[in-house]
Assembly symmetry: C2
Homo-oligomer: 347 residues x 2
């Protein structure tokens, strides 16, 4: 299989390098091809998502992505900022379903700001829609009747978009604890009201899954109060952006958590949920676990290799249990040392 490696900015290259080492150690039939993306690509090619990079991502069986974002480009016109690369890839590849597992890894109870008994109960998957919502609606600047500058963005979902992500939510819940919580703001938004109606009608096909609905403000509270109550959450692009980052932080392990962005088939883009962390880039301080675990998700979802996925996951847990820790987890291991410890446990 062809794997596109898109390291990107900041710590992206460092963590992707280590994930590649882990994949190579498995001696699978993988071919790697690398291309620039984000601020790095903008500097080299004048665009955060160069045509050749997009073409590689389309051609590949799966994409392993590092991180994009660099404050040096804050003043650049929106279309050329690093973030446009990830938005463009999601859109162009039709990667509509974002799976973001959040769980507390054994031994990392202290890393969370939540009390150990609260954080310890976290084991959920947030299913976030990635191709619609206010992210991709019509947007721009205009002048009001009174001559004032105004910014606007259209939020919308149609029934097909909601239906397909709802199905991913139900399917995900079905193979877990069979509890799905759909998050919206139906007391205020028409987009959410349609969302809720469609989720309810898809629910009739999944009588074995227990469905609940929650307003987003309440969900943000419940993720702090008692995150252990959630099994699978399904929500739109904007609410999913906010809640999945919040949930990861509740689990205390922003450097530990992987994610997958899937299309309707087997193609996926896999990336750590953390960002490019320019402040620690190039210093060997980055935690490679989230990217290594993203590689495991890639094997599971795009390459149908559950065995290798679990081998990686067990190796990561083994390294943690042995006490190997990067600075974000309170330890002193370097990026490469953390990966070494995982490699040593792959056997």
């Amino acid at each position: 299989s062809l794997i596109a490696l898109l390291p990107g900015d900041g710590i992206g290259p460092e963590v992707v390098t280590q994930a590649r080492r882990v994949l190579e150690a498995l001696s699978l039939d993988l071919v790697f091809e690398e291309a620039p993306v984000g601020g790095a690509a903008y500097l080299q090619e004048g665009h955060p998502l160069p045509a050749a990079t997009l073409a590689l991502a389309k051609r590949a069986d799966a994409v392993l992505f590092g991180a994009v974002g660099d404050p040096r480009f804050d003043a650049v016109e929106r279309a050329f900022r690093p973030e446009q690369a990830i938005l463009g890839l999601r859109r162009e590849l039709g990667l509509f379903a974002n799976l973001r597992p959040a769980k507390l890894f054994p031994g990392l109870e202290d890393a969370s700001a939540l009390k150990p008994e609260v954080a310890g109960a976290i084991d959920m998957v947030i299913v976030r829609e990635l191709n619609g919502d206010v992210y991709f609606g019509e947007k721009g600047r205009r002048t009001t009747l009174e001559g004032l500058r105004e910014g606007y963005d259209l939020m919308s979902y149609d029934e097909r978009e909601v239906e397909r992500i709802a199905r991913v939510g139900f399917e995900t819940a079905r193979v877990r604890k069979k509890r799905l919580c759909s998050v919206d703001k139906a007391n205020v938004l028409e987009t959410s009201q349609l969302w809720r109606d469609v989720v309810n009608s898809v629910a009739t096909e999944y009588p074995d899954v227990h469905l609940t609905h929650m307003y987003v403000d309440n969900a943000a509270m419940q993720l702090v109060r008692n995150p252990g109550q959630f099994d699978v959450i399904v929500t739109g692009n904007l609410f999913g952006d906010i809640l999945s980052d919040q949930a990861s932080m509740c689990a205390g392990s922003i450097g530990m958590l992987p994610s997958a962005a899937l299309d309707t088939g087997k193609k996926g883009l896999y990336e750590p949920i953390h960002g490019s962390a320019p402040d620690i880039a190039g210093q060997g301080k980055a935690n490679p676990c989230a990217t290594i675990l993203s590689a495991a998700m890639m094997l599971r979802y795009s390459l149908d290799d559950e065995t290798s996925a679990e081998r990686i996951e067990r190796a990561v847990e083994g390294a943690l249990t042995a006490g190997v820790r990067t600075p974000d987890l309170g330890g002193t291991a370097t990026t490469a040392e953390m990966a070494d410890a995982i490699l040593a446990r792959l056997a």
Copy 2:
């Protein structure tokens, strides 16, 4: 001064009754007039915000509001649901500035899901815009070109709306620790980009306040990781809805926290941040503190009576310090007993 009392649904009447007792005990020159709102008003008058209730709220110097919301009306057409009452009041009275203080009360360290040392550092005010954003933009259902049902809501802000809420943010920070964090999603939304531009230009008038910007997903993480870093947050209606509820829960005291919604003058609506809690309504279990503290905010902002406001606040702290607790705080005091304890300490 004329105070409109709008008790509303669920526990609203119980907590407003206790707040009125506290206000009456201060022997100020206050006249109270009560009117139905929310689901209660819909049952009595066929509308969640009857004309007479709105007229009273307009005539009054300030509004003390309980809570609205009742799942029995979930299937009612949106325009007649309880929540429309609060949205209508905010809009009709021009209550654009929502102040939501979040702090941990002494002795309540255990109530938070966060570690005591993390929760103990919380002392912030969230300034949320209340009259614009995706809440009040054009919204509805339509059919796409492919014949699919679609829901849509327009998000927008114009420069005048952003400027006036930004000023409230800077003024609030100026009399606190002089740190203002503006939260947006400028890497994706044009509305946010305008927001950021305007906040930056208002900042030139407040050189004494240290301004930072944060993306909303990062803010949701930071509110868990290290909420003590925030002094004042200023943000739009939707992000403010989510983050202020999250911040309150971090402080562990959803039954303790008050809020004010202010117009450009002295008029304000004051309400607890908690909802109508229909599950415990009528059982004497509700915590009246948030409403009593909202009455204190009313004295401060609408009636220029800082002395009485502080008397109430000290009495609430005194009752807590003495160990009087409603069930939400782990105690057994009833709604009335909690208020009694506060009344006893007003002297």
